[in-house]
């Protein structure tokens, strides 16, 4: 017997990384939201960011490094290569490391997840992936909610807090009670139309997490952070996502998105 929990958490890392590749920096969800009185400026900014950042498809080679403490150099590392299309609606990913799960392939189509286990030669459907949860259980500090926006359309109300020479500071207040944060603050690079820092707040604990994006490179005409760090202030831990190679609007082959063939 092998527990399902472990594979579900590992699977979530893969999905989270792939979703993040397409959507990190993109605020498509926010651009479509708002429209409330007093938030027109913020919404207009988000629309511009969205236009600059949105990619329909992508190819990426990424890694996630989970540190037990903010100051630790010792991490648990996951390496994947992935393809996505239709935003993050359809994604394919393959684990390169750790060695214990090398070759595991995951296909996610409209939230229907199929996992291929190379040693057993079996494809299994994985349900209840817990996209609303975090990668707790594997120590990660990102949650799917942090990386993806698809479920939060129309769930935030934005306000422009300040405007300096190089950045906008925008506050997002969720209007959906299912969102775990009470407030999210974006620091957006005005020139590159890219959020370089996001602060997350909860009612109970105040400022709980900070995400920073750096090593920005222009890839396929799109400014892309090649390193994203999430610091968990509450647990004094951090998780780093590194993008080793990526390309956008790549027209990936259909075979990788076919449930009867993606594993061959």
């Amino acid at each position: 017997m092998t527990t399902n929990s472990k594979f579900k958490k590992i699977m979530l890392i893969g999905i989270l990384l792939t979703a993040g590749m397409t959507l990190i920096g993109s605020t498509a969800l926010f651009a479509q939201s708002g429209g409330k009185k007093g938030s027109d400026d913020a919404r207009a900014i988000m629309e511009r960011v969205d236009a600059a950042q949105y990619a329909d498809s992508s190819m990426s080679k990424m890694s996630m490094h989970i540190f037990d403490s903010i100051h630790s150099d010792d991490s648990r590392d996951y390496f994947i290569q992935s393809l996505s299309r239709k935003g993050d609606e359809e994604s394919y990913m393959e684990f390169i490391a750790p060695r214990s799960i090398k070759g595991m392939k995951i296909l996610s189509l409209d939230e229907e997840v199929r996992v291929y286990f190379p040693s057993t030669g079996r494809v299994r459907r994985i349900t209840g992936s817990g996209k609303s949860g975090s990668v707790g259980g594997l120590g990660g500090d990102f949650s799917y909610e942090d990386m993806s926006g698809g479920d939060r359309v129309n769930d935030y109300e934005f306000t422009l807090l300040s405007e300096s020479g190089s950045q906008w500071k925008i506050k997002g207040i969720p209007t959906d009670k299912d969102i775990s944060y009470s407030q999210v603050v974006f620091y957006i690079d005005r020139q590159r139309l890219l959020p370089l820092k996001i602060e997350y707040f909860t009612e109970e604990d105040g400022h709980t997490k900070t995400m920073t994006a750096d090593r920005v490179e222009k890839v396929s005409g799109r400014y892309t952070p090649m390193r994203i760090t999430m610091e968990n202030h509450e647990e004094q831990k951090k998780t780093v996502i590194k993008v080793h190679e990526t390309a956008f609007n790549v027209d990936p082959p259909d075979r990788y998105f076919n449930p009867t063939r993606f594993y061959r």
Partner: protein
């Protein structure tokens, strides 16, 4: 009906010939964008230090990328009678080295190999297991070699270590066709504990262990994408189910090659397949141990299918295989048969509770079994003719991650006919990404003669009884590299 059997053979050969034709056509199609990732992880000056370890094991090998990896696993089993003098010991130790390699010599072609080295002692050694369970006495009564006799006759052989190439296959993918040949894992069926659609592998183990390997089957497996959501997959295996058939003579008759054809598709959250299969089982010169005089081989045909559909935070699934009446490789609907005896089916549900607790329940109907424990035919279990003895089973499992890297699970299997059951608790901790520590147990319960109690009298008054199920605890450390 022999004519029908001949037609099936001809159909199969035609399908293989057609596959070869499609292969040649597809090979000429433009496949330039087949590999969107290119060489990775390979030498790339822009990549970062973290890839050093991965690149080190990914080397140029005859013109393509070769990657070597695997694991070593060491287990100790502490039998429930460890501190007792009652009966033979059921403790033992097992060390497994699994060395894996991937090779992509060129675009469209890839290969994979898995080498397995096992060193075992005591209850975890196949010969030790025979002695501990009493099967050696049964073998001696049937003029078979006992472990003691085998070792006496072959004093220089190592009966503790086994080396084998378990998987070794090549894959050619082009256009809509994939062709895999060699020794590969063949695992049909998506149910968890029982897979009625798996007619190739031995029934010795329950399925469901994603971390463990499906034993390799030697043969070929072409798959053709039919367009849209449909695909057709087939296999032809050059060995029967027990892998014990002798070389030469009838063992190499084409009639003894199992095969399968599967049409599969999907629609939204639902996956389905329809299957036609031939199963071949070597029975030995004496024929069946439970069906009276038979041929040396048992050849049966099956029709089956499976459906999995997502449901809220869970899934519902069913898998069914129906044996077609007839014997010895023929299909004969005029044969006397009870419809329920031909069916093997699984119906299951899985669900994830808020908070991440995973639940699974699976009902298994085993038509070949019996609901009356007085009619159990344990000899069929030993010969591989029966996967289980009873007719109705319930498998249930719950698992959850409590703290980082710590998974706890409990599974249970119950024979609903005789009330016997076995509990399988497991706790697993990932010390590092590639270091896993696991403690698991087996707690059987049942009256004497019940299936999961495991004690049977094959020939009351003539032979001593056997005991196939012994409780115990297993500690395991696994390092992947």
């Amino acid at each position: 009906m022999q004519i029908f059997s001949f037609r099936i053979k001809r159909l199969l050969i035609t399908a293989l010939v057609c596959s070869a034709w499609v292969l040649s056509v597809c090979a000429q199609t433009d496949t330039a964008k087949e590999d969107p990732f290119g060489d990775w992880p390979a030498e790339d000056p822009s990549t970062e230090d973290e890839f050093t370890a991965i690149e080190a094991s990914s080397a140029e090998f005859g013109g393509g990328d070769f990657s070597a990896y695997g694991y070593v696993k060491s287990s100790v089993r502490l039998g429930s009678n460890l501190f007792s003098d009652d009966g033979p010991q059921s403790s033992g130790a097992l060390t497994t080295l699994r060395l894996k390699g991937d090779w992509e010599p060129e675009q469209l072609v890839s290969a994979h190999v898995e080498l397995n080295v096992e060193t075992s002692r005591g209850y975890l050694n196949p010969y030790g297991f025979q002695e501990a369970t009493g099967l050696d006495v049964v073998a001696a009564a049937g003029d078979g070699p006992t472990p003691a006799a085998l070792q006496a006759e072959n004093p220089h052989e190592n009966f503790h270590t086994e080396l084998k190439v378990d998987h070794a296959w090549g894959l050619f993918s082009t256009g809509p066709l994939d062709l895999k040949i060699g020794r590969m894992p063949l695992a049909w069926g998506t149910a968890y504990a029982f897979n009625p659609l798996d007619r190739v592998n031995s029934d010795q183990d329950l399925g469901g262990s994603e971390g463990e390997e499906t034993p390799g089957s030697t043969g070929l497996m072409p798959s053709l994408q039919l367009g849209g959501p449909l695909s057709l997959t087939s296999y032809l295996v050059y060995e029967e189910k027990t892998r014990s058939a002798p070389a030469g003579e009838s063992g190499e008759d084409f009639d003894n090659y199992p095969f399968g054809l599967k049409l599969q598709g999907y629609h939204g959250g639902t996956d389905w397949s329809l299957v036609f299969m031939k199963e071949v089982l070597y029975l030995g010169d004496r024929g069946s141990s439970i069906d009276g005089p038979t041929d040396t081989y048992r050849r049966w045909y099956y029709l089956g299918g499976e459906v999995f559909t997502a449901w809220a935070d869970g899934g519902l699934y069913t898998e069914i295989a129906c044996r077609l009446p007839g014997d010895n490789g023929s299909i004969d609907f005029s044969d006397e048969y009870g419809p329920d005896e031909l069916i093997e089916a699984v119906a299951g549900v899985e669900y994830t509770l808020e908070g991440g607790t995973n639940l699974r329940a699976e009902y298994y109907f085993h038509g070949r079994g019996t609901a009356d424990s007085d009619e159990y035919q344990a000899a069929g279990l030993l010969s591989g003719e029966l996967s289980m003895l009873g007719r109705d089973y319930l498998f249930a499992m719950v698992d959850r991650t409590f703290i980082d890297y710590l998974d706890v699970g409990l599974a249970g299997l119950c024979n609903l006919n005789d009330g016997s059951f076995a509990l399988l608790p497991e706790i697993s901790y990932a010390l590092r990404s590639n270091v896993q520590l696991t403690a698991s147990g087996l707690v059987p319960y049942g009256r004497r003669g019940s299936e999961l109690d495991g004690r049977f009298e094959l020939s009351p008054g003539v032979l001593p009884g056997i005991d196939l199920v012994e409780g115990g605890m297993q500690l395991e450390a696994k390092i992947s590299f």
